[in-house]
Symmetry: C2
Subunit: 186 residues, 2 copies
């Protein structure tokens, strides 16, 4: 790879520091996927993983923003949906080097690059979900459909802006199409 | 805020380290918004900002993933759209404490909490856009509609998974509705 811009090259080797802004409070205590020696692993069988995913869809959880950010949520109550960025804190740091995985740890899915999956094990493990904002009360947000386990550090909250996130007419890989069908099945 | 879970409390005060995985190559050389003393600022007038936004919608740019991640994009070519997470490197670190801003630096919009906006100035400045994946060639992705300026460090790439990101029937704040109408106007 040619790097003609020294400034960009510098950035590539720098470290960027994040500090959590809050925490997730959820009935969900254990992640459904963990990092194995060289792939994702699940404690449940395939049907169990899919059952969990369906349950989470309607589940309520809370996001508690730290009091040093008082006021930073003002105006968020005018949005029906928000993007939640959080850190999968149960993934050990030394697993961040994984390059390829079976999506959701399922060996019936093809082995693909981590960036072609939603794996929690990735170089910069930032997970994102669009969730329904049910209620804002001061520094606490009640949301529906958040997959984050209890105690997950929250990195950022954004309003769901259709200009940036809404994509109609999307085409996904065959394995993901199957996974979504199984997840949303009644 | 009560913190009954010591573990979560620890996480709230820890630092999380990110390392860029690649860089954006774009014709866009200057961000349209910068951080002023106590609000966002723009070099352009309001009409200029909106004209830029409309131009970006159809613009092609490249994302070059560093060679130490060879293979991490394998399978991404089966998706029509991807989520790009990047770092607004032109925002000085000391501005990350801003709590309230006028969205897009526009004084005709209400002063709201940073988490109710898409401001690049935020505690953990991670920006996200869903873009069309036009082509993948080895470690380079050609995408359409990425607002990131040239040289922006890339943090993560994810496939656009409708299960996580697609929201229909979304309600947004009045100011954002106006901004989107102005941006998408022919």
């Amino acid at each position: 790879m040619m790097m003609t811009d020294n400034n960009a090259s510098d950035h590539l080797h720098s470290e960027l520091i994040l500090r959590p802004v809050g925490v997730v409070r959820s009935k969900l205590k254990e992640p459904s996927l963990t990092a194995g020696e060289d792939d994702l692993e699940s404690d449940h069988d395939m049907e169990g993983v899919m059952k969990d995913a369906r349950k989470i869809r309607g589940m309520l959880s809370e996001i508690v923003i730290d009091s040093r950010f008082d006021g930073i949520l003002d105006g968020l109550e005018h949005f029906s949906h928000i993007m939640v960025l959080y850190w999968p804190h149960r993934v050990p740091d030394e697993k961040r080097g994984l390059i390829k995985v079976h999506p959701m740890g399922r060996k019936d899915f093809p082995l693909v690059g981590v960036f072609a999956t939603c794996s929690p094990v990735r170089p910069n493990p930032i997970l994102i979900t669009a969730v329904e904002l049910v209620e804002r009360r001061s520094n606490t947000l009640k949301v529906r459909g958040l997959e984050a386990v209890d105690g997950s550090p929250v990195l950022d909250i954004k309003p769901y802006n259709p200009h940036y996130y809404f994509v109609d007419d999307v085409r996904v890989a065959e394995w993901m199409k199957r996974a979504i069908q199984e997840k949303t099945r009644k």
